[in-house]
């Protein structure tokens, strides 16, 4: 006796969601399922999934605000999340990436049988690893996510002033507050290379937030530089090793 899978549909097009609902009803005999909710984009999906936990999420890869792959990455980071099955009308690059990484996907219009097979696979298979999902993503994420009290909180990357590594976690500082992220600073530096610059072994700073640099004479007689950020009193030290690179990056902009 197979348990009913809790299914959540994410697609920006209403007719596509309607069709998926109809298909799920059609295959209910073969794959018992219950629809727990739907959303029109990744951000909505994260909000609603917090209240309506699901086993499987059928996610369209192309959506406004937050696309399918980024949604899957945030869900994977949170742990204990629905298995994501991607759907697409046509996207040759995405499909290539999926095939390369052995990630299952469905092409629209979806056949009932293919949907049933995908649900069966989803029951058994382990969820896709975060690293694999990162490889599928064509571009950097627009948000970073934090699990807070059972909900996934999204931090827009554009609002992050700096990222500091502490032990196993990374602290993301926005104007309002700090967030603890389960991420690796090196991976973040790589993913957001154009947005952040490394000022220290354990610190990345948003280029756009830099307002200037300050020189302090330290006890050992050496000059130490600190970077000033918009909206923060805190001054972040720039390591001597990183200073030449940071200076070079901003020489042209007349900030150093």
């Amino acid at each position: 006796m197979t348990e009913a899978l809790r299914v959540f549909i994410v697609d920006d097009e209403a007719p596509a969601r309607a069709r998926m609902k109809a298909l799920l009803a059609d295959i209910a005999a073969e794959q018992p399922n219950v629809l727990v909710g739907e959303a029109a984009n990744g951000v909505e999906a994260l909000e609603r999934l917090a209240d309506a936990p699901a086993d499987v999420a059928l996610v369209d890869i192309r959506m406004p605000r937050m696309d399918g792959v980024e949604l899957a990455r945030h869900l994977a980071a949170a742990g204990n999340s629905p298995t994501v099955v991607f759907t697409t009308a046509y996207d040759e690059y995405a499909v290539q990436a999926f095939e390369l990484n052995a990630v299952d996907y469905l092409v629209k219009p979806v056949r009932a049988q293919r949907l049933a097979a995908a649900l069966e696979k989803a029951r058994r298979a382990a969820p896709t690893a975060r690293e694999t999902l990162a490889r599928l993503a064509p571009e950097a994420r627009r948000h970073l996510s934090v699990s807070e009290r059972g909900r996934i909180l999204l931090v827009p990357v554009s609002e992050i002033l700096y990222l500091k590594a502490e032990l196993k976690y990374v602290t993301a500082r926005t104007r309002e507050r700090e967030h603890l992220l389960d991420e690796s600073l090196t991976h973040l530096e790589h993913e957001f290379a154009s947005r952040f610059v490394r000022v220290h072994r354990n610190c990345l700073v948003a280029r756009e937030a830099i307002t200037g640099f300050e020189k302090d004479a330290a006890e050992d007689g050496e000059t130490h530089w600190s970077v000033l950020l918009a909206g923060l009193d805190e001054k972040l030290p720039v390591s001597r090793r990183q200073w030449p690179a940071v200076k070079a990056a901003f020489a042209g902009e007349g900030k150093a």
């Binding site: 007719p15 406004p64 046509y90 690059y93």
Partner: protein, 344 residues
């Protein structure tokens, strides 16, 4: 080596061989008919024919035997090498011919003179041959390129994203609203009929506007309230002939780049005016803060380039396509000439 890369390959084929033999005979005929001093014309023809065929076929043999090293030469050098071989063969045959002529007591003038005349002849014929081959080669390259362009144009016309999403919409409507599903199928069929046409054809402005409306009806089903469209058309000559698919692809781009990436949707504005012999079509769409990923740059550019090319084809410099991105709005404007009574 494929035919496209190997210039010599065509020489080994029956048509080329026939051409060489017949060409040689023609040359022999010309020489025999030329006003000369006495002698049997038929004998002249026979001897000329013999000599020419020896040179021609001998050169072809030599080229064939040396085809591998020759194949490695760049085209200009290859041409000179072939000419050199041809002249060499002519020299050999001329020398042999002189000996034969001496034996049959038909020799006139000196050996050197004879050989030089033959070489002169061979040089002129050789250069003519090279020129004609160059022409042939160029036209073949153009034919290959033209086929390629046709294929690219075809691929650019049928947008899979639109096709499969529309089919999915129809599949959904088949259950929820069969009558509407049928209408969407009709609209889709009409659109595809147009895209299958020869892009060199023209349609009336009325037809182009209708295709665009069909396209928008399909998208309206898919995107619902997210897609809003404003039409502003002022005294348009609806029977004017315009190239097919100059407006619909622009509107499609507007939807793909301007409306779809936005959760709240947006408004596409289509304008058409006609003033003093110039027909102006404009499409405006909002530029979302977070642009569409992946296909964003290339698909748009391909469609615009394709339209520009076709406008050039029809109207030369009299038609223009301009784009402008300003203050969160993207505008594409097409201007083309239309004169009443003239099928422009």
């Amino acid at each position: 080596m494929n035919a496209a890369a190997d210039p010599l390959a065509a020489l080994w084929r029956p048509p080329a061989l026939m051409g060489v033999v017949l060409g040689g005979e023609a040359l022999a005929a010309i020489l025999a008919l030329a006003p000369t001093h006495g002698g049997e014309r038929l004998v002249h023809f026979g001897l000329a024919s013999l000599g020419i065929q020896w040179v021609a076929l001998g050169t072809l043999c030599a080229l064939y035997l040396l085809r591998r090293p020759l194949g490695r030469l760049p085209p200009p050098r290859l041409a000179w090498a072939c000419l050199a071989l041809f002249l060499l063969m002519s020299l050999l045959v001329a020398a042999a011919a002189w000996s034969v002529l001496v034996m049959t007591a038909n020799a006139e003038g000196t050996r050197t003179g004879f050989i030089l005349r033959m070489l002169g002849l061979a040089l002129v014929v050789g250069l003519i041959g090279l020129l004609s081959y160059q022409n042939y080669w160029r036209s073949r390259q153009w034919a290959v390129r033209a086929k390629q362009l046709e294929l690219e144009a075809l691929q650019a016309r049928i947008h899979p994203h639109f096709l499969f999403n529309s089919l999915n919409t129809i599949a959904a409507l088949t259950v929820s609203n069969p009558a509407l599903a049928e209408e969407v199928v009709q609209d889709l069929a009409e659109l595809f009929r147009v895209t299958m046409r020869d892009m060199r054809e023209r349609v009336t402005l009325q037809q182009e506007l209708d295709f665009t409306r069909s396209y928008l009806r399909i998208e309206a089903q898919r995107l619902g309230g997210r897609l809003l469209v404003d039409w502003t058309l002022k005294n348009l000559p609806l029977q004017a002939h315009v190239p097919a698919l100059i407006l619909q692809p622009l509107v499609e781009n507007a939807v793909y780049h301007g409306i779809e990436p936005s959760a709240g949707g947006g408004r596409v504005h289509i304008l058409g005016t006609y003033n003093r012999g110039v027909l102006r079509l404009e499409v405006r769409n909002p530029l979302p803060a977070q642009p569409a990923r992946r296909r964003s740059g290339t698909g748009n550019r391909m469609a615009l380039d394709n339209i520009r090319e076709r406008l050039m084809l029809f109207y030369d410099l009299e038609a223009r396509l301009e784009t402008e991105a300003k203050e969160g709005l993207f505008r594409v404007t097409i201007r083309l000439p239309y004169r009443k009574g003239v099928t422009a």
